[in-house]
């Protein structure tokens, strides 16, 4: 069994393409995408909040006081494009304010004076600009209504029956964790990507090369052959995981965390915890992929199965994104989901709940061992040994 293990490692380390793909690109892939994405998002957000707001206004002449207010707030009023609707649709402008000719009349009669914001709310990047313009308009509205009440001798506070005060208890770490919702996916995917090649090469590859038949004539039980292969695949997955985590820790140094007003708790200590948490998932991934690849007749066929399986660890991440529920005990019993929630807890800087870690490790290991056991019985089927017949 150790012989099989060593040979598979040696054999695959000889393949430069595999090493490059599995041990270099895969670990770097996650952090790089992550950092680039985060840097881009925060840069956009800060630019939007700080840059002077340019606002094209249609019919500015109908509301000179409003325009004056906006200008005092630092808004740069520009002339409107010829066709406002088209300008929004073609994304030439993010937002256009239109003041109709009946604005003045409604104002004088004391009715709500209509102004129109032309936007495309399906374009998410315009959200910040739209809310800034709304903020200014609400500010003007509030100022005017207070003035009107005071002129009539009514205390303006009367119109504010309740006062809302939000006390934000999120720590910088927990805010970082929210944005990092996809971090667990990038970590989990490394064990799948890491074991993908090895699982294919040691099973479908061995069949395609027709070296499985001679191999199984050797005097060792078939489950031991499989165990050796699984061990090698798992070792590869663990290597990829370790490298991936290290890459993440390094990459965090380049993250513009200060700009985002949050601390990302991903130092070596957290990475070590994450490694422990995901380690049983490495065996899980290795066993799952090995089982699949064993049924494939060729390398190519196996790879087409693989590409689908790689989506599996994405399911819990997507679910967490759509329905970000609190961590509950049952979640720590579902393999892959439990790594997801616990890694999130870790990067949020929350204290490690040892019971949850235990449940997570136990449940994932159990699932992995069941799969490994199934894999171990596979070579008892003659169908999986011979390329034909």
């Amino acid at each position: 069994m150790i012989g099989v293990f060593i040979k598979e490692l040696l054999d695959n380390f000889r393949d430069r393409r595999v090493i490059l793909n599995t041990l270099v690109f895969t670990p770097i892939f996650g952090p790089v995408i992550f950092v680039v994405l985060m840097a881009f998002m925060t840069q956009q957000a800060t630019e939007r909040m700080e840059a002077p707001l340019e606002l094209p206004v249609v019919g500015a002449e109908h509301a000179p006081n409003l325009i004056g207010f906006l200008e005092r707030q630092g808004v740069i009023i520009t002339g409107p494009p010829e066709d406002p609707e088209r300008a929004i649709r073609t994304e030439e402008e993010e937002i256009i304010l239109r003041i109709g000719p009946d604005y003045g009349q409604a104002w004088n009669e004391g009715r709500p004076a209509p102004v129109e914001l032309i936007v495309d709310q399906s374009l998410r990047y315009t959200g910040a600009t739209v809310s800034r313009v709304r903020g200014y308009l609400n500010g003007y509205s509030g100022e005017i209504s207070q003035l009107r009440l005071m002129m009539r001798g009514v205390h303006p506070e009367l119109t504010r029956p309740i006062q809302i005060k939000v006390t934000d208890l999120s720590t910088p770490e927990s805010r970082g964790g929210m944005i990092l919702a996809f971090l667990p996916y990038f970590i989990l995917i490394t064990v799948f990507m890491g074991s993908m090649h090895m699982a294919t090469d040691t099973t479908a590859g061995e069949r395609e090369r027709k070296s499985l038949e001679p191999l199984l004539i050797n005097p060792l039980p078939r489950w031991q052959v499989m165990a050796g292969k699984l061990a090698a695949t798992t070792a590869f997955a663990l290597m990829t995981l370790a490298l991936g985590l290290i890459a993440f820790v390094i990459a965090m140094g380049y993250m513009p965390v200060e700009d985002m007003d949050m601390a990302l708790n991903l130092d070596l200590g957290v990475a070590a915890w994450a490694f422990v948490l995901v380690a049983p998932a490495a065996l899980l991934a290795a066993a799952l992929l090995t089982i699949l690849a064993s049924f494939a007749k060729s390398y190519r066929e196996a790879q087409s199965y693989m590409s689908m399986v790689v989506l599996i660890p994405m399911i819990p991440s997507l679910w967490m994104l759509i329905d970000p529920a609190r961590t509950e005990t049952w979640m720590t019993l579902v393999p892959l989901l439990n790594q997801n929630v616990l890694i999130l807890e870790l990067v949020r800087g929350e204290p490690v709940n040892l019971a949850w870690v235990g449940l997570c490790l136990a449940s994932t290991s159990l699932a992995a061992l069941v799969l490994a056991f199934i894999a171990g019985t596979l070579y008892n089927r003659p169908k999986l040994i011979f390329t034909s017949g």
Binding site: L212, P214, I217
Partner: protein, 246 residues
Amino acid sequence: MIEANGLRKTFNKGKVVAVDDFSFSARDGQITGLLGPNGAGKTTTLRMLYTLLKPDAGCMRVDGIDPEVEPLKVRRLLGVVPDSRGLYDRLTARENIRYYARLHGIGRKETEKRINEFSQVLDMDEFIDRRCDGFSQGQRVKVAIARALIHDPRTILLDEPTNGLDVMTTRSLRGFLRDLKSQGRCVVLSTHIMQEVAALCDRIVIIAHGRVAAEGTADELLARSGESNLEDAFVKLIGSDEGLLA
């Protein structure tokens, strides 16, 4: 020493009968040839002997041991060169052989000693430390043979050993098989080439449609068929010339 009695093996839930009521024996110190057209059941028979397939019926003994009962023990006794050589291209010839030695539990020193011996005998010195990627068929067969014999087995099964080999390599391979025989080993080879059995085998078992069509020495077979050359005898004994062109 191999004895097989009434072997039967079917595939596809009994629809395809590969081997039926097949009996033969192979003695130590002899080369036994399984001769038959493609698809006659030679490979299936060998696979049952080297424990990769279980027969539906019948019994086998390798040096008195039943492969169905003690498969690991039988695999230790056998040296098998299957139809598919299955070398690992990214490993050198030496590493390929070393891998199997390790699976047989042979010590490191002993392994290196034997590899060097095989390298000499099979004339592999030139490529023993090169990666198998790009090896010729002849080189591959040599590595596969050395790999299969690394644990010094008493009984040796070869499936179509000379497939794809040139004349010179075939000649030297035959010489090597005769050496094995003179060491008192039991050598069984399957082939569809008549010249091969004529040149090499002490006993010939002719297989057709999964059954034994005839059995004996080359001379016995000629006498039985009443033909003057082995090719005609072969056609007559299996009842058709089907598969001979392949």
